[in-house]
Symmetry: C2
Subunit: 147 residues, 2 copies
């Protein structure tokens, strides 16, 4: 569905939503272990989300690391996808036409449009902190370390 980059980003954000705050920052080592992702590659992905858009906060140096503000934790997955410039994965045409439109729909459009509404609805109303809350259930996981 999504690219590895996007998957790592979402997992990282959920972990940060659950475990970080302004006075408890998370280092890249802990984070990449927790979400089972390649360390340096994940660092690059996080950088994209710290600079312009300021979704992730970070500070260098001792006791530094990454964290989410309460404001950031309220952002929806859809917002995150928009920042990652990958929302088109869902909103684009399922057959790859350059535009998903009602004027000139593809043969799948009528059916897919209904599902798209639900997908976008789910992503739009699901906040990072709501997903973090799911992790209170001990069976819910965010890595592959259980196998």
């Amino acid at each position: 569905m999504f690219s590895k980059s996007t998957e790592y980003a979402l997992r990282a954000l959920i972990y940060l939503a659950q475990n970080s705050s302004e006075d408890h920052k998370i280092g890249i080592v802990e984070l990449s272990v927790a979400i089972d992702s390649p360390k340096s590659f994940t660092a690059k992905i996080l950088q994209k989300l710290t600079h312009g858009n300021k979704l992730i906060s970070s500070v260098t140096g001792p006791s530094g690391g990454f964290y989410l503000t309460d404001q950031a934790k309220k952002k929806s997955l859809l917002k995150v996808l928009t920042l990652l410039d990958t929302e088109h994965m869902i909103s684009g045409c399922i057959l790859g036409l350059s535009e998903c439109s009602e004027i000139n729909p593809c043969p799948m459009h009528a059916d897919y449009a209904k599902i798209k509404v639900q997908l976008l609805g789910m992503l739009g109303q699901k906040s990072l902190e709501a997903l973090a809350r799911e992790m209170n259930d001990p069976k819910v996981v965010i890595n592959n370390n259980n196998r």
Copy 2:
């Protein structure tokens, strides 16, 4: 959502379902123009679907080309995705965990599982010939040549 390869494959199959038969075969040139895809790349993709699995039929030489049998036209999109080995795009974990399971679900699982059922349902019941029928509506398109 899908890779370019998959998109081209689906568009090609829909076109063949609509326009080909055992006594009206379609050449790669006509096909790649009709679905607006790179010719040689599309040829490679079609080959994958002709050999082992026999979804697409083809004959070389004059008046040769690609076509679908009536039987093949009845196959569902889900069946096609299975042949292309890309069904995991939908059935896999949306956060990229190695397995989508009820035992150890990811934080998105509860919500995504519902949508997944609908997605797989739609893909499973939509046959190539049903999609070809959609193209009888003149506004429905399968390429980008209208822009």
